[in-house]
């Protein structure tokens, strides 16, 4: 009895342990012993062999302990094709369309599961997807739209932060462009007014400052397709929300714009002047009523209040720029001549800040807001000019000193010449 009791307790504990273990989706046989791979790798048809090989080389799911059957179903231990591909064992073939969304969401929308692998990762992707244009069209039966694997891949999946991932920030535009820049692919889609869906967005985007910042500027926070259109809930920002979208980064401009008259008038918000995909570096020439200005698209003629306001704001900015150039040249001249100009250069820097502020303030489209900033800048420049005047006075002082010395030298030269003549006379 004394030996049997511990044994029974042990058996009881073991049984409880087996019962108590939660039923979870867990990896089945390790990939090394995966019969799927063994068979598929030896096939001659690349369509069947490549996915297995790619999955074996580099895949985040495989590294986390998942295998073929976790998405495709079936029996990974069976060497026989019929047994491995049995529907009774859950084999689904290639998941596509809604089935694919459900397959991915089975894990990726399960918060408890994802917490075990990547606690910070979101679990609402499929919920977002349903609201997207892609998701809505899929629901109507269109199988040509993007699903999970279209952007993330299926077998060689990498983490988003992996630079080779198709959804790494620098690669996103090309991934979206694989469909959206293809005329053949997009030909069947039309805008609400019946005209064909444009396919030039990728080309336009590649001309933009955002693209340049992302690629050559190495600024990974620069926006690409998903930053404005959304990730899984991808859709163009609606009318009235463009300024909000741009404003997530360009907060100050969007705030100023929100107070302006254009906020109610512009359907497309910021895009009206700055374009949506080909966003270029803005210049002062865009403001005003001359040849290159954008304001003239709507505002023309002297009676147009908008034209008057545009001219006023541009005029103010140009006045400040002229004053800055003039003072800058004076200070440079003084510096070269050897006058200490550190304080003046500092003040000029301050004045240039006002130029930047004026260009921001301009987005209120109200000269009444822009003028005070310009005036402040001009006042600073005026201070520099008065300091510059002192520098010029110093230069004059030097020249007077020179004139005095030259006078003394001239005296000596004349006296010497006379002395020489005198000595020559005595020589003869």
């Amino acid at each position: 009895m004394s030996t049997a009791l511990p044994l029974r307790v042990l058996f009881l504990v073991a049984a409880l342990a087996v019962i108590a273990t939660p039923r979870t989706v867990r990896a089945q046989t390790p990939p090394a012993a995966n019969a799927c791979r063994t068979c598929h790798a030896s096939l001659t048809d690349a369509r069947l062999a490549t996915p297995a090989n790619v999955f074996a080389q580099q895949d985040i799911h495989r590294e986390s302990g998942f295998g073929c059957v976790d998405c495709h179903g079936g029996d990974a231990t069976a060497a026989d094709k019929a047994r491995a591909h049995e529907a009774a064992r859950g084999f689904k073939g290639v998941p596509a369309g809604q089935v694919q969304i459900a397959t991915c969401a089975r894990c990726h929308s399960d918060a408890e599961l994802m917490r075990r692998f990547s606690p910070r990762q979101r679990v609402d992707q499929s919920a977002e997807y349903v609201t997207s244009v892609h998701g809505k069209r899929l629901a109507t039966g269109d199988t040509q739209v993007a699903t999970c694997a279209s952007c993330h891949g299926a077998h060689g999946i990498r983490l988003v932060k992996d630079a080779k991932s198709p959804v790494f920030p620098t690669n996103v535009a090309a991934t979206c462009g694989a469909c959206h820049a293809s005329q053949t692919h997009m030909a069947r889609y039309k805008l609400t007014n019946g005209s064909p869906l444009p396919t030039n967005q990728l080309a336009e985007y590649q001309r933009s400052v955002h693209y340049a910042a992302l690629t050559t500027g190495n600024d990974l926070s620069a926006p690409t397709c998903n930053d404005c259109h959304g990730n899984h809930g991808a859709a163009p920002p609606g009318i009235g929300s463009v300024a909000n979208v741009c404003g997530t980064c360009h907060a100050v401009f969007s705030q100023k714009f929100a107070t302006s008259v254009h906020q109610q008038i512009f359907d497309k918000g910021c895009v009206e002047c700055h374009s949506n995909h080909a966003v270029m570096k803005p210049s002062d020439e865009m403001l005003g009523t001359d040849a290159h200005a954008i304001c003239t698209t709507c505002h023309n003629g002297k009676d147009d209040k908008g034209a008057v306001a545009a001219d006023a704001m541009r005029g103010g900015i140009e006045r400040l720029k002229t004053a800055l150039d003039r003072s800058g040249a004076l200070v440079a001249r003084l510096r070269n001549a050897g006058i200490e100009t550190g304080a003046e250069e500092l003040a000029l820097g301050e004045a240039r800040v006002h130029l930047t502020l004026a260009r921001t303030e301009m987005h209120t489209f109200d000269p009444g807001h822009v003028e005070p900033v310009i005036a402040e800048g001009l006042k600073t420049v005026a201070n520099v000019e008065s300091a510059g005047a002192r520098g010029v006075a110093e230069l004059q002082y030097r020249r007077r000193g020179l004139a005095l010395s030259l006078g003394a030298i001239l005296l000596v030269v004349v006296a010497l010449a006379m002395k020489i003549r005198q000595l020559d006379r005595t020589l003869r």
């Binding site: 510096r335 070269n336 050897g338 030097r398 000193g401 030298i409 010497l416 020489i420």
Partner: protein, 359 residues
């Protein structure tokens, strides 16, 4: 009072030789005597350079991180620093002009003939040293223009066929123009070249004093025929004239310093691209432009090599001119060398002008 001091020294150090020399020394008087002033002018401007140079080196810092700022400091913060620096920069150019003018006048007047071969030799070496001063000093402000001019100039030095690479590394203190180059050029500019110059100037002046002033061939022939040589006493007649020219030089340099200040420029950035149209100072311009015009390959040789060797041969020729010009040694007119001198002068002037306006 001065006499008392002189007498005191005379009691201890026998000054009779010196007194006699001063009383006796005369300067020939003839139509070409104006050229005599150039030697003294060169010497005076050299003295100005040494004086202002010593003042500058009290504040200048020869390191890549501080050189530019120290020059800026001198020019903006040190009282009259702008004046000293500008005088140094302008007088450098005037010194080069005076040295070349002195050289050409001696060349054309054949003053190098016997017995003045050594004077000519030391003089030519001094001319090369002056070019060295100009080249080394130009880098010291460490601004964009001087950095790239040095880069191009030392690059040309590297084009010497034998030992060019070694020579380039020797000049640059490495493979590129860096702070090491600055240190090296500073050492050259304030120590090595001044030491060599002192020795050579001493020999040059000693020879001139011992041998007296040379006269043009025509005058020499007349004197040989029995005509007395017209002279003026060196002291005080000639000395006062010399001092007059020096005062005029001071006036010119001071005016230039006040009206045309030398710019500070932008601090050198070794990673920046060479600005287009970079050129050396005017005294190197003829040589530089010639090298630019030489085609890249001539008869199987690299154009630049040929150019550099050509200049080397010309320099060597100049050194040996007194030994090559037999006719002037005999006291005869030597039109070949006159023509050569005029050709040389024309070439230098023309190519300097072309080089200045070329884009």
């Amino acid at each position: 009072m001065v006499q008392r001091v002189v007498d005191w020294v005379d009691e201890r150090v026998d000054l009779s030789g010196l007194r006699h020399f001063i009383a006796e020394k005369g300067v020939p008087v003839h139509t070409q005597k104006i050229w005599y002033y150039l030697g003294g002018m060169t010497m005076f401007l050299l003295a100005v350079q040494i004086f202002t140079g010593i003042l500058l080196l009290l504040y200048y810092r020869p390191s890549a991180t501080e050189a530019y700022e120290s020059v800026q400091f001198i020019v903006t913060r040190v009282p009259f620093g702008w004046l000293i620096r500008n005088i140094h920069s302008w007088s450098a150019n005037l010194l080069m002009a005076a040295a070349f003018a002195h050289f050409f006048s001696v060349f054309l007047l054949k003053s190098y003939r016997k017995p003045r071969e050594l004077t000519w030799l030391t003089g030519i070496l001094l001319l090369f040293l002056m070019l060295g001063f100009g080249f080394s000093g130009y880098l010291l402000p460490w601004n964009e223009v001087s950095f790239f001019a040095t880069k191009v100039g030392t690059g040309i030095a590297g084009a010497v066929p034998i030992g060019g690479k070694f020579f380039l590394r020797l000049l640059r203190g490495g493979d590129d123009v860096t702070g090491a180059t600055l240190s090296r050029f500073y050492g050259l500019h304030v120590a090595v070249l001044p030491a060599l110059t002192t020795v050579l100037v001493a020999v040059h002046l000693l020879l001139v004093q011992r041998q007296g002033m040379s006269v043009p061939l025509s005058v020499e022939r007349r004197v040989k025929a029995g005509e007395p040589l017209r002279q003026m006493p060196f002291f005080p007649h000639y000395v006062l004239r010399d001092v007059l020219t020096w005062y005029v030089a001071i006036a010119i340099v001071a005016a230039l310093a006040a009206f045309y200040p030398w710019e500070l420029g932008k601090k050198a950035d070794s990673f920046a691209a060479v600005p287009p149209g970079i050129r050396p100072e005017w005294y190197f311009l003829a040589m530089f432009h010639t090298l630019k015009l030489v085609p890249s390959h001539v008869l199987g040789f690299e154009g630049e090599h040929l150019g550099v060797v050509g200049f080397g041969i010309a320099a060597l020729f100049l050194v040996f001119v007194p030994f090559l010009d037999r006719r002037s040694n005999r006291g005869e007119n030597s039109p070949v060398f006159t023509v050569l001198a005029l050709l040389g002068l024309t070439y230098l002037v023309t190519f300097t002008i072309i080089g200045h306006y070329a884009r």
